[in-house]
C-alpha cells in the first residue's frame, strides 16, 4: 500500500488540518470565555457558527458544479464507447477527432471560417448516411456501390426501371460494365427484372418492337435471361411520378438515378431503408399495369423477324 493510500484511509480525526483548526478554535474560545463578558462570548460563538454554515453551503455549491462537469465529461466519452464496438467506424471517428484537434491548434481565422463551412456540409452528409441515404452527384462513382450491391450474396432479386431518353443510355464504358454486372448476377441466380421506359421516337406508336437503334440493347439483356417489359413514355403522361430511373435491390435498398438529356449521371441517390423500398415497390406495381412483356412482343414477331 502506497503512502498516499495509507493517508487516504486514515481517519480525518487524526489529520493535521482537523486537529490544528480544532485546537486553534478551542484556544480562542477558551481565552474569550476567560477574559470577555457573556454577550461577547455569545457574539463570538454566533460568528463562528455562521462562518461554518457559510463554508458548508459554499462547499455544497462547488460540489454540485463539480458533479455536473463530471457528468458532462462522462457523456462526451459515451460516443467513443458506443463506437468502440465497431472498429471500422471507430477508426473513422478517431481520424476525424484527430483532424479537429489539429485544426483547433491553428489560430488562422480564415482557415477556421472555411473549415466550419466545410464541416457543416460534412455533418449534413453524415446525417444523411445515418438515415441510410448516400448521394453521388455528377459522378459515375455510384456504379462501384451498385456493383457491390448486385454482387452481394443476400440480394437475390433486382428490379430496375430504365428511363431511356436517348440511344446513348448506358452505352458508355461505365454503362456497359454495369450491364455486364447485371448479366453476371443473372447467371449467378439473381432474378433481374427491368421495365424500360422509352421515348416515343425510340418506340413509335404502332410498331411492335422498339426502333433498331435501341432494340439490340434490349435484346442483349433478354438473351442473358433478364425479364424485360417495355412502356412508351407517352403512356405515362398522366402519371408523371412514374417517370423515374430506379433500382430496387432485394428488400434492402433503392437507388434513384437522375440523368441529363445526354444520359450522363447528374445524381444517384441510394436509400438503404425499408420505407424507401416499400414506396419504390408501390411504384413498380403501378408501372407493371402499363408494361408489355418483351417476351410476349417477341412471340408476336413473324419468324423472319
Amino acid at each position: 500500500m502506497s503512502r498516499e493510500e495509507r493517508q487516504a484511509r486514515r481517519s480525518i480525526l487524526l489529520s493535521y488540518r482537523f486537529v490544528g483548526t480544532a485546537a486553534v478554535g478551542s484556544l480562542v474560545m477558551a481565552l474569550v470565555a476567560l477574559f470577555a463578558p457573556l454577550p461577547t462570548q455569545l457574539a463570538m460563538l454566533g460568528a463562528f457558527i455562521s462562518i461554518l454554515g457559510g463554508l458548508f453551503l459554499s462547499y455544497l455549491g462547488q460540489e454540485d458544479q463539480r458533479e455536473r462537469q463530471r457528468a458532462e465529461a462522462i457523456q462526451s466519452l459515451s460516443v467513443p464507447l458506443s463506437l468502440a464496438r465497431d472498429p471500422e467506424l471507430f477508426q473513422q471517428y478517431q481520424d476525424i477527432a484527430r483532424g479537429l484537434t489539429a485544426l483547433a491548434k491553428n489560430a488562422d481565422p480564415i482557415l477556421r471560417r472555411i473549415a466550419l463551412i466545410k464541416f457543416a456540409s460534412v455533418t449534413a452528409q453524415i446525417d444523411g448516411l445515418a438515415d441510410g441515404r448516400i448521394v453521388f452527384a455528377l459522378t459515375e462513382e455510384w456504379r462501384t456501390v451498385y456493383e457491390q450491391i448486385l454482387s452481394s450474396p443476400d440480394v437475390r432479386q433486382y428490379r430496375s426501371v430504365a428511363w431511356v431518353k436517348t440511344v446513348d443510355y448506358w452505352q458508355d464504358e461505365p454503362g456497359r460494365q454495369s450491364m455486364r454486372v447485371n448479366f453476371e448476377a443473372a447467371h449467378r441466380g439473381v432474378l433481374v427484372e427491368r421495365i424500360v421506359l422509352l421515348r416515343d421516337e425510340l418506340w413509335p406508336a404502332g410498331q411492335l418492337l422498339p426502333s433498331p437503334e435501341i432494340l439490340p440493347w434490349i435484346e442483349q439483356q433478354h438473351n442473358h435471361g433478364l425479364w424485360l417489359a417495355l412502356i412508351r413514355e407517352s403512356d405515362l403522361s398522366r402519371e408523371a411520378d412514374l417517370l423515374v430511373d430506379m433500382g430496387i435491390y432485394g428488400d434492402r435498398a433503392v437507388g434513384i438515378q437522375e440523368l441529363d438529356e445526354r444520359c450522363r449521371t447528374l445524381r444517384f441517390t441510394l436509400d438503404v431503408n425499408l420505407q424507401a423500398v416499400r414506396l419504390a415497390d408501390a411504384r413498380w406495381q403501378r408501372l407493371l399495369l402499363y408494361a408489355k412483356s418483351f417476351r410476349s412482343l417477341l412471340d408476336q414477331r413473324s419468324p423472319t423477324g
Binding site: L191, H224, G225, W227, S293, R295, D299
Partner: protein
C-alpha cells in the same frame, strides 16, 4: 429364368429397333477397321456419301448416317416441328434437366409442376429453386386424371386455378407420366398464357416422344426434353433437347454457351456435336462414346418410315391396351385406367389379391420375367405394360393371359 418372349418395358429402356441394331453392328465393324482415322472422322462429319459402292455394301447399316445435321433434322421431324430448328444432343438427360432448371429460374419466380412429374426431375428443379431462392408449386392432377369421367377441360381449369392462385410465372409439365397418364400440355400452356404471362415453359417428353402427342409445330414450349432410348428404340441412352421458339432461342443459346464455357454444364457429347456441326473440332475435348449417335440415326430412320402419322401408332397402341386390359381383368388384375382423354400406350395394372400386392417390386418383376414377360413393376402390386405399336398376335395375347393368371 427363360428368355423374354414379350417385351413390354419402356420405362427405362425400350427395345433396340432393327435399323439401330444394324447401325450398331456395322459401326462396330467400321471401328474395328478404322479406329479414329481421318477416314472415320470424315465419315462422322459427312456420312457415307462419297463411299464406293463396295464399301457401302460392306456396311449397309451405316447407309443412313449423313452427319449430325441430318440426324437432327430427322429427330426434329419426329417431334413434329420444323427440321431447320436446333436440337441439343447430350449423353445424359439429367444434365439437360439441370440446364432446363437453370433456364426456368432465370426469369421465373415460381414454377408450376404437377404431381405426375418424374421424381428425380422434380428434385433437380427443387434444388435449383432452393439455390436461387425461388419457388416450385405443385398442382395435384392425378386424382382428377384417374377419375373415369374427367374431361380435359377440368384438368386445364384445375391447373389454371392453381397457376393464378399461387402467382406462378413458369411451367414444367410432364407430357406423359411414367405411369402412362397423358396431359394436354399444349392446351394447358395456351390457357395459362391467356390469363397471365408465362415466362418460360419446359416440357418433359421422355415418355411422350415417338409415343403419344409430341407435336412442336405450334411452338408452345421453350424447351422440350426427350430421349432416344425409350419409345424411339435407339437403346443407347442419349438425351435430346428441342428448342427454337422465337422468344427464347437466342436466350437458350446464350446461356448454353455461358454454362459450357464456365464448365457448369459438362456433357462431352453436347460439346462434341456442337463442335462437329460448327466445324470447330478441337483436340482437347473429352473422348466421347459415339455409338448412341449411330443407333439413334438407325432408329430415327426406321421410325420415320414406320410412323408416317404418329397418332395412328398411338391409336393402335391404345387398341392393344383395351384388349390387354380386358384380358387382365379376367386374370386377377385391376386395370388402373385414367379417363379416356389421358390414356396413352401404357397400361397400369394392380393385382387384386392382397398377397400379390405385398410382393416387392423386384419380386414381382422377377415373377413375370420368369415367365418370359419383361415389364416394369412398382410397390403395391402395380405393374406397367408398354403396348406394342403393331397389333397383338393371338399367341402373344394368350401368353400374356397365362402369365397374368400365374403371377396374380
Amino acid at each position: 429364368m427363360q428368355p423374354t418372349q414379350l417385351y413390354l418395358d419402356t420405362a427405362r429402356l425400350g427395345r433396340m429397333s432393327r435399323r439401330a441394331q444394324q447401325a450398331h453392328l456395322d459401326f462396330t465393324a467400321l471401328a474395328g477397321e478404322e479406329g479414329a482415322s481421318l477416314f472415320f472422322e470424315r465419315f462422322l462429319k459427312e456420312g457415307c456419301q462419297g463411299w464406293p459402292s463396295a464399301l457401302r455394301s460392306r456396311f449397309p447399316g451405316l447407309a443412313c448416317w449423313q452427319g449430325i445435321a441430318p440426324l437432327k433434322h430427322a429427330l426434329r421431324t419426329l417431334a413434329g416441328s420444323s427440321p431447320e430448328l436446333p436440337v441439343l444432343i447430350v449423353n445424359r438427360l439429367a444434365q439437360l434437366m439441370c440446364f432446363a432448371a437453370r433456364l426456368l429460374f432465370h426469369p421465373c419466380r415460381n414454377v408450376l409442376v404437377t404431381d405426375l412429374g418424374w421424381p428425380p426431375y422434380q428434385a433437380i428443379l427443387e434444388n435449383e429453386a432452393r439455390r436461387v431462392g425461388r419457388l416450385v408449386t405443385t398442382v395435384a392432377v392425378r386424382p382428377l386424371v384417374c377419375e373415369l369421367q374427367t374431361a380435359e377441360d377440368e384438368v386445364v381449369e384445375a391447373v389454371k386455378r392453381r397457376f393464378l392462385d399461387s402467382g406462378c410465372d413458369g411451367l414444367f409439365l410432364t407430357a406423359v407420366s411414367h405411369l402412362g397418364f397423358r396431359l394436354p400440355v399444349e392446351r394447358i400452356v395456351r390457357a395459362l398464357e391467356n390469363v397471365r404471362e408465362l415466362r418460360f415453359v419446359v416440357i418433359d417428353g421422355a415418355q411422350d416422344f415417338c409415343h403419344a402427342s409430341a407435336d412442336l409445330k405450334n411452338e408452345y414450349c421453350d424447351l422440350y426434353l426427350a430421349g432416344c432410348h425409350k419409345w424411339l428404340e435407339g437403346f443407347h441412352p442419349m438425351g435430346l433437347g428441342f428448342y427454337g421458339r422465337q422468344r427464347s432461342r437466342v436466350m437458350i443459346e446464350t446461356l448454353l454457351g455461358h454454362l459450357l464455357d464456365s464448365g457448369e454444364l459438362n456433357d462431352p457429347l453436347l460439346q462434341f456435336t456442337t463442335q462437329i456441326e460448327t466445324a470447330a473440332l478441337e483436340g482437347e475435348t473429352e473422348t466421347v462414346n459415339l455409338v448412341p449417335l449411330f443407333t439413334c440415326q438407325g432408329a430415327a430412320t426406321e421410325a420415320l418410315e414406320r410412323f408416317s402419322a404418329p397418332p395412328v401408332s398411338l391409336r393402335l397402341r391404345q387398341r392393344n391396351l383395351g384388349l390387354a386390359a380386358s384380358v387382365a381383368e379376367a386374370c386377377g388384375w385391376q386395370p388402373a385406367l385414367p379417363a379416356a382423354a389421358f390414356r396413352t400406350g401404357i397400361l397400369l395394372l394392380q393385382a387384386e389379391r392382397d398377397a400379390t400386392r405385398r410382393l416387392s417390386a423386384c419380386a414381382m418383376r422377377e415373377a413375370f420375367a420368369g415367365n418370359g414377360v419383361a415389364l416394369t413393376a412398382y410397390e403395391g402390386g402395380l405393374v406397367r405394360l408398354s403396348m406394342p405399336a403393331r397389333e397383338w398376335q393371338p399367341a402373344e395375347i394368350d401368353h400374356l393371359k397365362s402369365v397374368l393368371r400365374i403371377v396374380a
